[in-house]
Symmetry: C2
Subunit: 128 residues, 2 copies
């Protein structure tokens, strides 16, 4: 990466929701962006926290820590889901930026039930 990447331009290169693109890497971490819409799946990352910044729209995260609650995130809001906490994102539409260790799977080390059709179980894709 020897040039800046504009996040708005990068988001415009793909349409799929819950299918993160890796915009850049630093050390052994990925910086990923994704469009968000609809229900994700309950899942957990046992070994890593997960950082979210909402770029546009709204992004909600249901958490079991241990009582179930939902944090509502608007554009410009940041939130970290601690390792080991089960969570399920949902969104009426929006886009997010995430920091997480390279290799982290979008659906966690384990998830509850089937992965919905609108959720891509992936370690992230390269920007096209």
């Amino acid at each position: 990466m020897d040039k800046p990447v504009n996040l708005t331009a990068a988001l415009a290169t793909f349409d799929e929701v819950y299918s993160p693109r890796i915009v850049t890497r630093m050390n052994d971490y990925d910086v990923r962006i994704a469009h968000t819409l609809g229900e994700h799946v309950w899942h957990v990352h046992s070994d890593t926290d997960e950082f979210f910044l909402v770029l546009d729209g709204q992004f909600d995260i249901a958490l079991r820590d241990p009582d179930e609650r939902t944090v509502i995130l608007q554009a410009g809001d940041v939130f970290v889901v601690p390792k080991g906490i089960e969570h399920k994102p949902s969104s009426p539409g929006g886009s997010i930026l995430m920091f997480e260790p390279s290799g982290t799977v979008t659906t966690g080390d384990r998830h509850e039930g089937d992965v919905p059709a609108n959720v891509d179980s992936t370690t992230g894709h390269e920007l096209g």
Copy 2:
């Protein structure tokens, strides 16, 4: 951190430039924000890459990799300065988000000449 933090609101809680506040932590990394204005100092982080996202305004990074060049970043642009690359930020005014290992010093492992009065040599401050 059990509630979201809004970056615009967090930036409004302080005025100092080049004096990062830690908005949250994930694993052993900080997410920091800073106002930017004027010339920083040539410095290098020998052991870590450094991630920048421009939130507002403009932020430029002069790099010696090895020939000197300057990348110009506008709002929504991201860039990673690789470990070991000498760099000097400057800005006509703006704000940035940074992702770096906790304990990383703003002026690097070494810097060139005196630290300017408008640059805070710090590992980041807590949000007030």
